[in-house]
């Protein structure tokens, strides 16, 4: 199949490009992806500024100072900058380097914590990004993460296997779980044309409730605890630590790096990846060029689900060590933001995942030390998405020139 179309492939490339150039056929997705690095960066800066305003408004001292603004404007600004400065410096100390820490280990630990929080986001984000590149909105990251975590976790405590092998078997189980879950959406899309957005969202709920059900079954949880949680996974199944405790950085981060390289290779160097992109750019042209759109749809969903499933596996095998109803947190949805911010490029997604991991890790310290509501971090993240999804807005705010809509390959 692949050998059949390779000769035709080069001729398949021009039509989508010429169509994007006159701007008529340009989809929203393509518009979002064509934004420049500068837009991403400025979106982050703007979001942080906006977050700063919210931090100030939610702080009682600043509000009190604002009431006396006309009497003592200097004091107001001093309080304002001190409050916002403290919050953001705590965010930085929690995410990168803590100069207030008592030990050297503790001082450099925050950066590794950002990597820990980022691991699952990167893996799942890659899954979302890959589907985006093929023109598919995979909103089912959450369900795929849950399935991946469920199978990986179960294999992690149910099988007696030697170290490393056990971990690999469990991780592969997670990959298969995610692949099957996303594959369902892919098959439905390819065979019946069912909208993948709706199907993947529905599959999220099904995965969540299925896990909730399984956690009540003793044969599944391997524990007599009446609470809905599983047994702790065996030591042999844990993703081994890259640094000694108190560091939590585990092998999953290496997997995330390898997965990033794999996705880059897949998209930029492999024939099948070329087909993915061709279908994403223009399915009609791709079909004319002899690419089987339905095959590509199913395949891309399977690979995307496998990556998200691996994200779930990294979560349960790397940091949580047991299954609970909330094992997936909001990874599946945050990963959509990560993929958008990374403009669906492997390296971009990797960096965006790290950034969001840093927000998460920094948020813990910011909240506990300065009492800043953790929701601020969520708002900052959301504003980033909003700005990324609306590049023209950012451009007009910063008076950037409208880019010539010419899509360059990286």
């Amino acid at each position: 199949m692949t050998t059949d179309i390779s000769p035709a492939a080069p001729s398949a490339a021009p039509p989508p490009e010429s169509e994007t150039e006159d701007g008529k056929e340009q989809t929203l997705l393509q518009q979002i992806m064509s934004g420049s690095w500068l837009v991403s960066l400025l979106a982050i800066v703007l979001a942080l500024l906006f977050g700063g305003v919210l931090i100030a408004v939610s702080n009682a001292e600043v509000v009190a100072a604002a009431e006396n603004f006309f009497a003592a404007p200097g004091e107001f600004f001093a309080t304002l900058f001190q409050t916002v400065g403290n919050a953001y410096s705590a965010l930085f100390r929690g995410a990168v380097f803590d100069w207030d820490a008592r030990t050297t280990e503790r001082a450099i630990r925050p950066l590794t914590e950002s990597m820990v929080s980022g691991t699952s986001l990167i893996l799942t984000g890659l899954g979302i990004a890959l589907a985006f590149r093929c023109g598919l909105f995979n909103i089912g990251g959450q369900g795929q993460v849950i399935l991946g975590a469920t199978i990986a976790g179960f294999l992690g405590y149910a099988l007696p296997l030697p170290p490393v092998v056990h971990m690999l078997v469990a991780a592969i189980g997670g990959i298969i779980g995610g692949a099957i879950w996303a594959g369902i959406a892919g098959v439905l899309k390819a065979r019946t044309g069912a909208n993948e957005v709706i199907v993947t969202i529905m599959l999220n709920s099904i995965a969540g409730y299925a896990l909730g059900y399984l956690l009540k079954q003793n044969w599944f949880t391997h524990t007599t605890s009446a609470n809905p949680q599983s047994r702790v996974i065996d030591d042999s199944a844990q993703m081994f630590l890259l640094l000694p405790p108190p560091f939590r950085l585990h092998f999953g981060f290496v997997i995330a790096i390898l997965a990033t390289i794999f996705v880059w290779w897949l998209l930029e160097r492999s024939t099948i990846g070329f087909e993915f992109k061709a279908v994403g750019a223009n399915p009609h042209a791709a079909r004319t060029a002899g690419i089987s759109v339905s095959k590509v749809t199913i395949l891309v969903m399977i690979v995307a689900g496998a990556l998200a499933g691996l994200g779930g596996a990294a979560q349960v095998l790397g940091t949580e060590y047991k299954l609970t109803g909330g094992i997936s947190g909001s990874i599946g949805f945050d990963a959509i933001t990560v993929a958008l911010l990374g403009r669906s490029k492997p390296l971009g997604t990797f960096l965006a995942g790290l950034l969001f991991g840093a927000f998460k890790a920094g948020g813990y310290l910011m909240q506990s030390q300065t009492g800043t509501p953790i929701d601020i971090v969520l708002v900052v993240q959301s504003v980033i998405v909003l700005l990324i999804a609306a590049p023209p807005l950012v451009r007009s705010i910063f008076r950037l020139p409208t880019p010539v809509l010419k899509r360059k390959e990286d």
Binding site: G94, A101, R102, T103, R106, E113, S117, Y209, G212, K216, T223, T224, S225, A226, N227, P228, Q229, R231, V232, P246, R248, Q315, T319, E320, K322, T324, G325, G326, I327, S328, G329, S330, A361, Y364, L365, Q367, S368, Q369, G371, P373, I374, L378
Partner: protein, 344 residues
């Protein structure tokens, strides 16, 4: 490690005000501080302790299960003398932190400590704060059965966990007690104590689901309903209000005060989490911390039945008297309310 923590403690000690060198901290579960349930009550306890005892407080809200470890770790790093975890989900995290930091104290709200096989364990520097709510729910079940006109009462939970089903067990027994004493046959919908099986909305967030479940219970004839699902109960209240002649038994706090549905709330099964938190902090700040679990009962007023408020005139005098009698019997031990979920 110990030396390091001592350093922080002494650093905090330079704070000034009397009593302010004691730092109490709390990590919520993913319900958040405004969950109208245990997180909120726990936080109230922290605020009261801050006000009344002059201690320092640190709060951390978790948005997902992955947040527990970093949040508790941050509290430990800041040298919190006493760190509370709210809910059973934090059990392992608190347990680990307690074992790694023998010089600091920890407490867990609404759950006891157990090992990997679910067997109870004791930890020298960690206290479980739990509530035998079955006792108070028993009284509520009796009142509900006595005031039901349709002869059917209902209940549903958020998630099937011991701290939820213990309410339903007590409620079921209270209904049975009324039937036995009065040779009536009031039916309970939504929970089967013997089979430990019933209706659950699936989480502590989705009010729409609570509304739907309540509508189903009402359509089956229930006219007094006890939702044991935190804020999901608000959905139940909306459905009950719409139906007109359906009343609720609220849980955790006095629903007459904490919700806007006071006019349909017959009574509430109250769980004094905030008092327990404040008491635990007080013990800690006076250097009297003990790992002895705190079990809230009718006897120590850790659980109780709220006043009837608007229903003061509608609940018959003999029922009120009977409830008082039952309460006395439970307190003096002549009547034992049993549940599989009773904290041991």
């Amino acid at each position: 490690m110990i030396a390091a923590s001592a350093l922080v403690l002494s650093a905090c000690g330079s704070g000034g005000e009397s009593g302010s060198d004691y730092m109490a901290c709390m990590v919520s579960d993913s319900g958040g501080w405004d969950d109208q349930s245990f997180n909120q009550s726990g936080r109230e306890g922290m605020e009261n302790a801050k006000k009344n005892l002059g201690i320092e407080e640190k709060l951390a809200e978790s948005q997902g299960d992955a947040d527990f470890k970093p949040n508790v770790d941050n509290m430990v790093q800041q040298g919190c003398n006493l760190t509370f975890g709210v809910g059973f989900l934090l059990e392992d995290t608190i347990q680990e932190a307690a074992e790694a930091n023998p010089d600091l104290n920890f407490a867990l709200i609404d759950s006891t400590f157990s090992d990997a096989d679910g067997k109870p364990v004791t930890i020298d520097n960690a206290k479980a704060v739990v509530f035998n709510t079955a006792e108070a729910a028993y009284l509520a079940g009796y009142v509900a059965a006595a005031t039901s006109k349709s002869g059917k009462v209902g209940t549903f939970g958020g998630i099937q966990i011991p701290s939820v089903t213990i309410f339903m067990d007590g409620f079921a027994d209270g209904v049975d007690k009324f039937n036995k004493d009065n040779k009536k046959d009031v039916k309970l919908l939504g929970w089967n104590k013997k089979k430990q099986d019933g209706s659950f909305s699936g989480d502590f967030e989705n009010q729409g689901q609570g509304q739907e479940l309540t509508k189903q219970l009402i359509s089956q004839g229930a006219d007094v309903i006890m939702p044991v699902a935190g804020p999901v109960g608000l959905g139940a209240a909306a459905a009950a209000k719409e139906a007109g002649d359906v009343n609720l038994v609220w849980v955790d706090s006095d629903g007459y005060e904490s919700t806007e549905y006071g006019d349909i709330i017959l009574t509430s099964v109250v769980k004094q989490i905030s008092q327990a938190v404040e008491d635990t902090i007080k013990e800690g700040s006076e250097d009297k911390f003990s790992n002895e679990p705190y079990v809230g009962t009718l006897e120590n007023e850790g659980v109780g039945l709220a006043p009837y408020h608007d229903f003061e005139d509608k609940v018959p005098e003999d029922v009120k008297k009977k409830v008082e009698d039952l309460k006395k019997q439970i307190v003096d031990g002549s009547l034992v309310v049993e549940s599989e979920s009773t904290p041991k």
